[in-house]
């Protein structure tokens, strides 16, 4: 990689303060990015419910036998480098504290169900009255406008309603869907983009705004060619033989699939982009069938794809997945073992540096997801674990609101924080 010479690394988002109500992954994952690049992200939680609106607080995986609010592995993973404070917005004093924090912030971020912040008295109009150029980014499944705006969602619901679940499956089987909340991750990525775009706009014009992000709408943009096939050619994806997610139609490739290997639940993905790839794969296989006219052209391979897949499975089934990967990569054929978590996290040189170890005040040292980018001038930093509930009350309320340790203790006593 290219290394910059010269000045020490800088923090890309230094000086940006985020008043952050985000939780779960869809929201917390977004503000994790901002914090990793130096924004001051102040995560605000409810002391009455002990922050349990975020269902990841306190649920596993755990590093050891310790359980409870501070030990949730997912929560820690998604909230690195953030500050944590508690505010009870049901109280007048709590509302005052929040108002003052907002006045000193650049962005307010949340992923509650639509309308929650407004009911607290902190809808966009009120936010704007507190700070005229505030950037408010809300992220919920269906957005704040439209017939379903009151509906509730989780990642799998968003994926179901947006077509992502349907598009992940094999013919004549139920939808396989996504084995994780792809749209919590990805909704978070769109939230990051929205925040950064709004910050850029404000920097150039002085103008703030409210960004209404609907996770399901962002998801719907991820099917472009299939949607155009529908609007232009009237061809639906709900049709016989579809979806066939391990195959490729755009561009057409064959073979293109996931094939069984020796060992338990061991698989390898192989794709031939063109006849040259097929010739190389055929040479590696070295069997008569691989040179048969029935597979000689892309057209023929597409027409005979079922038998082609069977023949290839016959070749792969007795071999080690990494042996096949090595041989086919050396031959120039796109190929990858389906890696288990252990293989890709601990044994794959191409994920080196991707799993930083953070220090969490209660948990101790634990590894988390890092960021898959290297920025030469402004590298990311993920060193501090997620905040414990109200961990930074004294620091934040002291530094930003001028409260003494004694006053903070008193607010805690009174149930305000």
């Amino acid at each position: 990689m290219e290394e910059e010479k010269g000045p020490a690394p800088a923090r890309a988002l230094a000086g940006i303060r985020v008043c952050d109500f985000c939780g779960q992954l869809a929201g917390a994952g977004a503000t994790k990015w901002l914090a990793a690049f130096g924004a001051e992200v102040i995560r605000i939680e409810d002391p009455v419910r002990e922050g349990r609106w975020d269902i990841l607080r306190g649920i596993g995986p755990y590093v050891d036998e310790r359980r409870g609010l501070e030990f949730g592995g997912g929560y820690n993973n998604h909230n690195t480098e953030k500050l944590g404070v508690t505010i009870n917005v049901r109280t007048e004093r709590g509302k005052e504290l929040l108002t003052e924090l907002i006045r000193q912030s650049d962005c307010v971020t949340e992923n509650f169900a639509a309308g929650v912040l407004e009911r607290w008295g902190f809808g966009y109009e009120q936010l704007k009255a507190i700070k005229p150029d505030i950037i408010y980014v809300s992220n919920c499944g269906f957005g704040h406008v439209g017939p379903y705006s009151a509906f509730k969602t989780w990642g799998p619901i968003v994926q179901a309603v947006s077509g992502l679940t349907f598009a992940s499956g094999l013919p004549d089987k139920p939808p396989a869907g996504w084995g994780y909340s792809y749209m919590d991750h990805t909704g978070g990525y769109y939230m990051v983009m929205a925040i950064l775009l709004a910050l850029l706009h404000r920097k150039r014009t002085g103008e703030g705004q409210w960004v209404d992000l609907a996770c399901a709408e962002a998801a719907l943009t991820l099917h472009g060619p299939a949607l155009l096939d529908w609007t232009v050619n009237n061809r639906p994806t709900r049709r016989a033989g579809e979806p066939h997610a391990n195959r490729s139609q755009s561009p057409p490739m064959a073979p293109h699939g996931v094939y069984p290997c020796a060992g338990e639940d061991a698989w390898v993905a192989i794709a031939c982009r063109d006849d040259a790839d097929w010739a190389r794969l055929g040479a590696a296989i070295g069997a008569a069938w691989a040179a048969a006219p029935a597979y000689a052209s892309l057209e023929a391979r597409l027409a005979n794809q079922d038998s082609l897949d069977e023949d290839i499975s016959g070749w792969t089934a007795s071999q080690d997945k990494f042996d096949i990967q090595r041989r086919l990569r050396d031959a120039g054929v796109p190929c990858s073992a389906v890696q288990t978590p252990q293989e890709r996290v601990d044994q794959d040189p191409d994920t080196e540096g991707l799993w930083p170890t953070v220090t969490h005040t209660a948990i101790g040292s634990v590894r988390v997801d890092g960021l898959p980018v290297r920025m030469s001038r402004t590298p990311w930093r993920v060193e501090r674990g997620a905040p414990c509930l109200g961990e930074h009350n004294e620091e934040v309320f002291g530094r930003l609101l001028g409260l003494s340790a004694h006053e903070v203790a008193q607010l805690r006593e009174e149930g305000v924080i």
Partner: protein, 413 residues
Amino acid sequence: MSALAGFRVIELASERIAFAGKLLADMGADVVLVEPPGGDPARHYPPFLGDQPGPDRSLWWWHYHTSKRGVVLDLESDAGRARFRALAADADILLESEPAGRLAELGLDYGDLKQVCNNLIFVSMTPFGRGSASSAAPVTDLTILAGAGPAWSCGYDDHSLPPVRGGGNQGFHTGCHFAVMSALTALLYRLSSGEGQFIDVSMHGASNVTTEAGSYSWLVARQTVQRQTGRHAAAVPTQSTQMRCRDGRWVNTGVPPRSPADFGRILAWLRDLGLEDQFPDAIFLEIGAAMPKPITYDLIGVDAEATAIFSAGREALALIAENVNAKDYFIGFQRRGIAVGVIYSPEEAFEDEHFRARGFQTEVAHEDLGRSFRYPGAPYRLPACPWRISRRAPKLGEHDDEVLGGSKVAGSR
């Protein structure tokens, strides 16, 4: 004013990076797509307008290159490289996903372009990141998702069936999301510091950190999640959440009900549908509705009553599914405050009244064909600087004169 108005992006055409360029172009950046003579191979990706192939008829091309201008440059020639350098001299961001080493061989890598554009933001998105020992390995979306974790987590309870790649080239998309987040972060930094930088995005890395508990169950607890039909892969098997409705369509019931209010609402709908008599466990819904607080996860499977209530909730969801159609199930439960989802195909979602009411469908004029077509719309709504498709995808070399002959790079032709 658009969020990215006035910023110029140079994109070296590649199927991998195309989406990143679109995300920037639809927010107002002046994205110049650079193709080789003869055009980028993706011009020939199906589906096609009217199923008739042609370099300007690919719907793949139409979708991924909205709002961009297109030029042809032969980077194998001195003249082409000179023009490319002149273009880069005026650029704010460069997007590339070229084969390893190619730009260095051409004298067009970051170090070279920095000479002509000191504050350039150079985004390199490659399969495994720059400098990887695997750099020469060819990849496709499928092989990325297989190696990086998504495929391990997606598929069926029946492990004699292969892991499944989620459809829609999401491995490419995920890489592009990180390319855009990085580029925008760098742009903000540049506005305050004046400095550009080099950004190295790994597609393999991007999907590796987009697997939720797939990664962190291992990182935290050395647990291996196992794929399950239509729900989260998990280290300990969980119960099915996907149900088939009366019309044969599927729904996802997400996180099963645990709150008293939920149990009350489920019972009420069972009664409205006249199904209470068919459901002996309705009594547990009644008990659940009268609980002082929600069932916590730690009680399930441990406390007999809590477990019975929890199971009755799930079984009632299944019984209702047998008796109503999928769309009605979705609307009916959501109106009752319970989060379930209908499993739509992409086009069914596109035509749904909610997204229509939000104005998601976007008309794009193809003046050359004398028609306009409906496209997918904005992923986010920034009212002060709106998302917009400013033009259809470019034809081969459509903007050669406008871009390469313009005053900005005068003298380079």
